[in-house]
């Protein structure tokens, strides 16, 4: 119906009309202190990084939403973390094992794990997210059924394991065999999707800090995932959020767990290198 150049112009116009500078929002200088521990939420970007300063999504929320993350009791994510703590010690599957049977205390064995995710798995010869590792344990070692990605049981376990890295810097490895996934993820990040013809970068690189209608756009960092959203009052996984974003561009999306989303996860994790892990965070 339209030529490509016309479509582009329309998309640009659409975004221009949607995005505006915000009225006064939360105090953008505020520090995030969770249970007395200070998080790194503003990090100077390294040479060659597309951003000048790497900023946690927490900065872009209102005072009230921000406050919910500063105390583990006020943070409703911990309902699900506690459920996962029970699941950690629950025997499931033919092998008669629980997570605990092999890994012992989650606080000891899973410390730092989330900070390096996703990562290239030499044995599987593939890029694995935390969910892949959990399901591999479930099917291989426990001989239990795998969990579905982006569903409650899985998201809660990812949150429990992620919590053990809270306060540690995001530090994914993007060279060696991970390089091709990184490149693929970068490509997806800058590809315009859907009828609105928006790429991740259009909102989260070009317009963070501005309003897209009623939403205050962040850099789209994933250091706080899974995150409890006020909108749906449950934990939301990284891939579920990617899916939601792409769907909002009115596109057919990739599936949680797909190679595309794992590649994108690696690339987006790299864009947040150095930010403290905030898992499980609270967002709007």
């Amino acid at each position: 119906m339209f030529k490509a150049s016309q479509k582009l112009a329309i998309a640009a116009l659409a975004l221009g009309a949607l995005v505006s500078a915000p009225a006064a929002w939360a105090d953008e200088e505020a520090d995030l202190i969770i249970n007395g521990e200070k998080m790194d939420i503003r990090v100077e970007a390294p040479e060659g990084h597309p951003l000048d300063e790497i900023l946690s999504g927490w900065i872009f929320r209102t005072d009230e939403t921000q406050a919910l993350e500063t105390d583990d009791f006020d943070n409703p994510s911990f309902i699900f973390v506690e459920q996962a703590q029970e699941a950690w010690s629950t025997v499931e599957g033919e092998a008669g094992k629980s997570c605990e049977s092999c890994h012992g205390d989650v606080a000891e064995s899973m410390k730092g794990v989330r900070a390096a995710m996703p990562k290239y798995n030499e044995q599987a010869k593939d890029l694995w997210s935390l969910e892949n590792y959990i399901n591999s344990c479930r099917t291989e070692r426990m001989q239990a059924k795998p969990w579905k990605w982006a569903k409650a049981d899985m998201d809660a376990m990812v949150a429990l394991i992620g919590l053990q890295s809270r306060g540690m810097p995001m530090s994914v490895k993007v060279d060696g065999p991970a390089a091709e996934y990184f490149k693929k993820g970068e490509e997806i990040y800058y590809t315009r999707f859907g009828q609105l013809e928006l790429s991740c970068a259009n909102c989260h690189e070009d317009n963070y800090g501005n309003m897209i209608r009623a939403d205050h756009l962040s850099q789209g960092q994933i250091n706080g995932f899974p995150t409890y959203r006020l909108k749906n009052t449950k934990l939301n996984s990284i891939h579920a959020r990617f899916k939601g974003c792409i769907r909002d561009t009115r596109a057919e999306t990739f599936s949680p767990g797909s190679e595309e989303f794992r590649a994108l996860e690696l690339y987006v994790a790299w864009r947040g290198q150095g930010l403290s892990i905030e898992t499980p965070s609270v967002r709007q």
Binding site: R61, T62, D63, E64, T65, A67, L68, I212, R213, A214, D215, H216, R229, L230, K231, N232, T233, N236, R241, G244, C245, R247, D248, Q284
Partner: protein, 140 residues
């Protein structure tokens, strides 16, 4: 570009107001009824009730609300723009450390949150706060 009739209605501010009017009127009536059944029609003073709400709620599904009224035995909390205005009624017992409570509530759109306190002497006091509910961001 095709604009459906429904979209046109939503785009036109006049249309939106026309759509919204009857439901606001209805909710306001229900709010007055709820207040009357709590107070028994007694007069209500302004002041003496602290009602803390965000000016802007990022999502209407979870809006933190804090209410306190020194000397109150009960506090009625209402949201006058919801399909039904009732939110919660707090009763303070002999071991309450103060007549205050915080909770998180649902607001279907921008509206007033109303708190009516029943004092120990049987009098009533009121506070009202408008909360802007943002709609139309990223559904994600």
């Amino acid at each position: 570009m095709n604009i459906t009739r429904r979209e046109a209605l939503l785009i036109g501010a006049g249309g939106a107001v026309m759509l919204a009017l009857p439901s606001i009127a209805q909710a306001k009536g229900l709010t007055e009824e709820a207040i009357a059944s709590f107070t028994g029609g007694a007069p209500i003073a302004e002041g003496g009730v602290d009602l803390n709400t965000p000016e802007i709620a990022e999502n209407g599904n979870t809006v933190p609300v804090e209410v306190s009224a020194e000397g109150a035995t009960a506090i009625l909390l209402l949201a006058d723009g919801n399909p039904t205005p009732g939110v919660a009624t707090f009763h303070f017992g002999p071991l309450a450390g103060s007549s205050s409570a915080s909770t998180r509530i649902r607001l279907s759109k921008t509206q007033n949150v109303v708190a009516i306190a029943k004092m120990a002497d049987g009098s009533f006091a009121k506070a009202t706060r408008e909360v802007k509910v943002t709609i139309g961001g990223c559904g994600g």
